[in-house]
């Protein structure tokens, strides 16, 4: 009497986004903490994460059913149902939705502050020139403080997955790898076709280009006539 059916919950772009983000964030934390020459990689991986996050933001609008923000936005009605224990739907439950928005929010904060940060050694973020030294120092301080918030959220995220696996006997990792889940009720994810994917990718690439600062005006080449003293 198994009435469970197999439905697509996480589309492929969402899963790729998730696992690339996992790898990249690990890379960012390591390169950020170790420093030295790795700080250059911190900057590069940061741009990758910026692309991933922008992609996810667009995918949250044009992606498939359960990737859409409006599908899982934790409205008071949903929270009430969830608190009463009546939550059945596939996708993010309201608490998980808070986790998603919090993680994205802190990541965006880290990206924005990192773009204008400096390490007071020899590294500056790609958009450092757009702000002054004082603002950059301020952003750097925030960047270094809020990484702890990010790590705390990730630990919470992992703890929740462990809780689901061991206490609620619900493996959340498999669907994030395979995409599908066996459920009692709920419709498979729809939408998020090729066109949506192209749109999201183009916007993400444009954002990476904007953040990379390569469009910033080059400092004017020193005219041959103006030479600094040889001492």
């Amino acid at each position: 009497m198994n009435s469970k059916k197999r439905i697509l919950v996480w589309d492929l772009p969402t899963r790729l986004f998730h696992w690339l983000l996992v790898a990249a964030v690990v890379g960012l934390v390591v390169t950020g903490k170790v420093g030295g020459n790795l700080i250059d990689w911190h900057g590069k991986i940061g741009l990758l994460v910026l692309g991933l996050v922008v992609f996810r933001l667009v995918w949250g609008i044009v992606g498939s059913t359960y990737a859409r923000f409006c599908q899982f936005f934790p409205t008071p009605a949903k929270i009430a149902t969830y608190l009463k224990g009546g939550w059945q739907a596939p996708g993010h439950n309201p608490l998980g939705a808070f986790s998603v928005f919090a993680l994205l929010g802190v990541l965006i904060f880290q990206l924005l502050t990192g773009l204008v940060a400096n390490d007071d050694i020899a590294f500056v973020g790609p958009l450092y020139d757009l702000v002054g030294r004082d603002l950059s120092n301020l952003a750097t301080g925030w960047h270094r403080l809020s990484v702890d918030v990010l790590i705390a959220l990730i630990v919470l995220h992992l703890a929740a997955i462990m809780f689901y696996a061991h206490v609620k006997k619900d493996n959340l990792v498999k669907p994030m790898v395979r995409g599908w889940k066996e459920v009692d009720q709920g419709e498979p994810a729809r939408g998020g076709g090729a066109l949506a994917l192209v749109v999201a990718l183009v916007i993400a690439l444009a954002a990476v280009f904007a953040a990379s600062g390569v469009w910033l005006p080059e400092p004017p080449p020193p005219p041959a006539a103006v030479e600094t003293p040889s001492w």
Partner: protein, 151 residues
């Protein structure tokens, strides 16, 4: 006998003179100036690593860092200079004044890394400079992480 007393007095005065108390404001200013100068040198080396490598330019910058690293900057961390204003408010954490051995280790690592960078800079080996530069940056960071306020 009298000359011995004079000599002793003179010696005491000289010794006191050599250890004349540096004013807190001056100490902080000199610290900040030294770090700013090393910042200039680090950027200069980085520009050479990332762009066209000029051996002389790198050697000059590395020598500046080495000189400052070996200048005994610890003397500028006088009591009371955990707070105060030099060119700007100091960002040193009070822990730097109480964590003796740990700070000494970081300072020693920094000196060693600065010496190494100056050595390889003189040889003109760009790959070795990049490596030594990264290690030196790591020692800067070690102190920034633990002994400088985040904001």
């Amino acid at each position: 006998m009298k000359s011995k007393i004079v000599l002793a007095l003179l010696a005491t005065t000289l010794a006191a003179g050599a250890h004349a108390q540096v004013k807190v404001e001056d100490a902080i200013k000199w610290r900040q100036s030294a770090y700013a100068t090393m910042g200039w040198s680090m950027s200069r080396i980085k520009a050479n690593i990332d762009g066209t490598y000029n051996k002389d330019d790198v050697a000059k910058a590395a020598n500046v860092i080495q000189a400052i690293a070996n200048s005994g900057m610890g003397a500028l961390y006088v009591p009371g200079s955990d707070k105060g204003k030099g060119w700007a408010d100091t960002r040193v954490k009070p822990a730097l004044f109480t964590d003796g051995p740990k700070v000494g280790k970081i300072a020693g690592d920094f000196n060693a890394a600065a010496n190494e960078l100056a050595k390889v800079a003189a040889s003109g080996d760009a790959a070795a400079v990049k490596d030594a530069f990264g290690k030196l940056g790591g020692t800067c960071k070690a102190c920034h992480d633990d002994y400088r306020t985040k904001q």
